[in-house]
């Protein structure tokens, strides 16, 4: 099968450099991996006035990591990931608004569970398809959920939003204060847990098999991998993490509208992840921080014309850093090494 082999070698050239390392060392921690956490903790002290915004960035990072698991590692392209973010947000919101379940941590676990169940059910159908059909169906799933929430506005609050969310203080002590101090730590803690889980998944044999599916699905079929089951599993995990991001979003804002299920959210998170770099987990960090900070600063600079600036940045990245900002950095590194040797 010459064509198959050909496509395989071509794909291999596109791999991130981490594959150049010896397989037994890949999962080990590098010193550089401490950097995002040092920055996150440092940001708390350096920018004490920006913590509510910082919390939103951390939530976006969690959401982007969840997308990276399916897009970057399993090669599932989706335009409807907001479906699971929204499910988590509505689960956390409605638990409080309707059932009086105001304890945040258990609420967050339930939000993640609800989204994972939604991901599992929809994944069973969606993942029978690939390519364009899959993209269209993920889009359709999100639109269906959006209209469902719109129709049952007595329960969801619809376009105007779900009022009456009263989240209890964390551990009975730490309230969501006006400056966002406590929720910054809360979200950062959740991000650490989510990241460790995602990292564990990615470097496990299961995670390696996902990369195999992404790069050469025929070969994985040929060696007897249960491709469909693997995809449904990672899709469920990813949906659960997206639901946790949504749950945090609902808790920190104490407000949920139809917007959490909107297409704009699915699209933006895709842009953020591609901006940072897919299939490398840290792309989520870089993409979310760069996109949101650039957008925020440009909005302040010019409330009317900021979109032009954001568009320009994206065009430049697409032109000169096709594998995202992190991909750009590794490519540059490689060039330097080649030039030296």
């Amino acid at each position: 099968m010459p064509s198959l082999v050909g496509s395989h070698t071509r794909r291999q050239q596109m791999q991130p450099t981490q594959n150049n390392q010896h397989p037994s060392r890949r999962h080990r921690w590098h010193l550089a991996e401490a950097l995002p956490w040092v920055i996150a903790v440092g940001a708390y002290f350096v920018f004490p006035d920006y913590l509510a915004f910082g919390t939103q960035i951390l939530i976006t990072i969690i959401f982007a990591i969840s997308l990276d698991l399916i897009l970057g590692y399993a090669g599932i392209v989706t335009l409807g990931h907001a479906a699971y973010f929204g499910t988590g947000a509505y689960a956390a919101g409605m638990l409080s608004a309707h059932l009086g379940w105001n304890e945040p941590i258990s609420g967050l676990v339930l939000a993640g569970t609800a989204a994972a169940v939604m991901g599992w059910i929809s994944g069973l159908v969606l993942l029978r398809y690939r390519g364009l059909a899959l993209i269209m169906l993920t889009l359709a799933t999100a639109i269906l959920l959006y209209e469902l929430a719109n129709t049952f506005e007595d329960i969801t609050g619809g376009f105007d939003g779900l009022l009456g969310i009263h989240i209890s203080p964390l551990l009975g002590k730490f309230d969501n204060d006006l400056w966002g101090h406590n929720y910054y730590w809360y979200t950062l803690t959740v991000l650490v847990i989510v990241f460790l889980a995602a990292r564990r998944v990615v470097f496990s044999p299961f995670g390696r098999s996902l990369i195999g599916i992404r790069d050469n699905v025929q070969r994985m079929h040929a060696i007897g991998t249960p491709v469909y089951r693997r995809l449904v599993t990672i899709y469920t995990i990813s949906a659960g993490l997206a639901g946790i991001a949504g749950g945090l979003f609902a808790q920190s804002n104490a407000f949920v509208t139809l917007d959490v299920l909107g297409f704009a959210r699915s699209g933006t998170i895709l842009v953020i992840l591609i901006l940072g770099g897919t299939g490398r987990l840290y792309g989520a960090f870089v993409g979310a921080v760069v996109y949101m900070v650039v957008e925020d600063e440009l909005t302040k600079l010019s409330p009317e014309f900021w979109e032009f600036g954001v568009g320009l940045v994206l065009v430049l990245v697409v032109l000169f850093a096709r594998r995202g900002l992190l991909g750009f950095i590794t490519d540059m590194n490689e060039l330097m090494h080649k030039a030296r040797s």
Binding site: A52, L163, F255
Partner: protein
């Protein structure tokens, strides 16, 4: 680097002639509006109304200055507006907040203004119960109930509609408007025979099947709520194409469907349309003539203010009133106290902030679309004076608490 939009410091001129007895204060006002996206036009109207007021009346602040810190609330999702409001309160330490086009954005921000104790002057956001969400909210715009509800009574009493059908774009303003009409119409004694949701605000649907259904039901009146612009043009056109006027059905609605900025594009078929609203640029009062003239001089002869522009103007007048009455040092409770019962001669007519609900009380006018020369114009054929929000006045649904 931080860039900010500074308001006009008209006070500088006055400063030279006044003895500096009180310290000059700079009052910081956070403005949260939709400056981009589909609703950018709405944000622009309010922004222009606001700036026009500052330009014309800046000197009335005496030695005080006003500084506007503008933020884009982008989508109607609540979260972006809430983050903006949080930063405006904690970092920029604004004395007042204003703007708010979409209701969810105002609702999401309500707990923050309560906790941060910052007065909030709402310039659009028309969901009825918003001022009940925080003691620091004052609204100068309108509620959907202020038009739909009196229209129900007016249609029965004066337009001879004993039966009616309603059609609406399926989102909160539409549902609110139709619920208000139904309540007002049935209370007057009329019978609502049908109520049809007609698609989302995003795209203009083919109205023919909905309208045919109404035509077959043969009501006396057909009450329609759609967003101004392409939607209302299509409504008027479909109504004419199906010959519903000849079939004895009268098309009525709230003034949103004959918004000033969109009126000219509606075409001949709009003539005879009866709507109910609190503002049109065609009002003949001296206040409004001066306002429209100043607007056209500032922004171009082919522009026109609509009810959003007026809300920006009136909202800024309310903020000026607060600054003057508190002599530049804004205290939240004092500011709200100053605005309770505040009266103002707006281009739309006399307005009042209800001391109990902190919501707007205003005249509501019956508009008729007429042909004047080669343009369409609004003729006022009747006025219902000083309408309070009927939803809160009657304690209906979510307005009950």
């Amino acid at each position: 680097m931080k860039f900010r939009t500074y308001g006009y410091a008209g006070a500088l001129l006055a400063l030279s002639s006044l003895p500096a007895e009180t310290l000059a204060a700079t009052v910081r006002v956070g403005v949260v509006l939709t400056y981009t996206g589909g609703a950018a036009q709405l944000g622009q109207q309010i922004d222009r109304g606001m700036n026009l007021y500052i330009k014309q009346h800046g000197s009335e602040l005496g030695e005080h200055n006003i500084e506007l810190i503008k933020r884009d609330s982008k989508r109607p999702g609540g979260d972006i507006a809430k983050t903006a409001v949080q930063e405006l309160i904690t970092r920029d330490q604004v004395d007042l907040l204003t703007g708010f086009v979409f209701s969810p954005n105002a609702m999401a921000s309500a707990p923050l203004v309560t906790r941060g104790q910052v007065p909030m002057v709402i310039m659009n956001a028309g969901t009825a119960w918003i001022p009940s969400l925080s003691p620091y909210i004052v609204r100068v715009s309108f509620t959907m109930w202020q038009f739909g509800h009196p229209m129900g009574g007016y249609a029965y009493d004066s337009l001879d509609c004993k039966s009616a059908a309603s059609g609406y774009t399926d989102y909160p303003p539409g549902k609110d408007s139709v619920a208000a009409f139904k309540h007002g119409f049935e209370r007057a004694g009329g019978e609502l025979v049908d109520s049809i949701p007609m698609g989302s605000p995003r795209e203009v649907p083919d109205f023919t099947p909905f309208f045919q259904r109404v035509k077959d039901a043969k009501p006396d009146c057909f009450y329609v709520f759609v967003p101004g612009g392409n939607h209302s043009t299509a409504v008027v056109k479909t109504f004419a194409d199906l010959g519903m006027k000849q079939a004895g059905i009268r098309l009525i609605g709230p003034g949103d469907i004959t918004q000033d900025t969109k009126l000219q594009s509606m075409g001949e078929d709009a003539v005879g349309l009866v709507t109910m609203h609190h503002y049109s640029a065609d009002y003949e009062t001296p206040e409004n003539k001066a306002f429209v003239q100043a607007w056209k001089a500032e922004y171009g002869a082919d522009t026109t203010p609509d009810f959003m522009g007026v809300a920006g103007w009136d909202g800024m007048a309310a903020i000026f009133h607060v600054i003057r009455s508190q002599n530049g040092k804004i205290d939240a409770d004092g500011a709200i106290q100053a605005l309770r019962g505040w009266k103002f001669n707006s281009p739309r007519g006399p307005i009042l902030i209800d001391p109990d609900t902190r919501d707007i009380v205003q005249d509501v006018h019956i508009h008729k679309v007429v042909k004047s020369g080669d343009r369409l114009a609004i003729q006022v054929v009747g006025t219902i004076p000083q309408v309070k929000d009927p939803c809160k006045a009657l304690s209906l649904g979510k307005c009950a608490n």
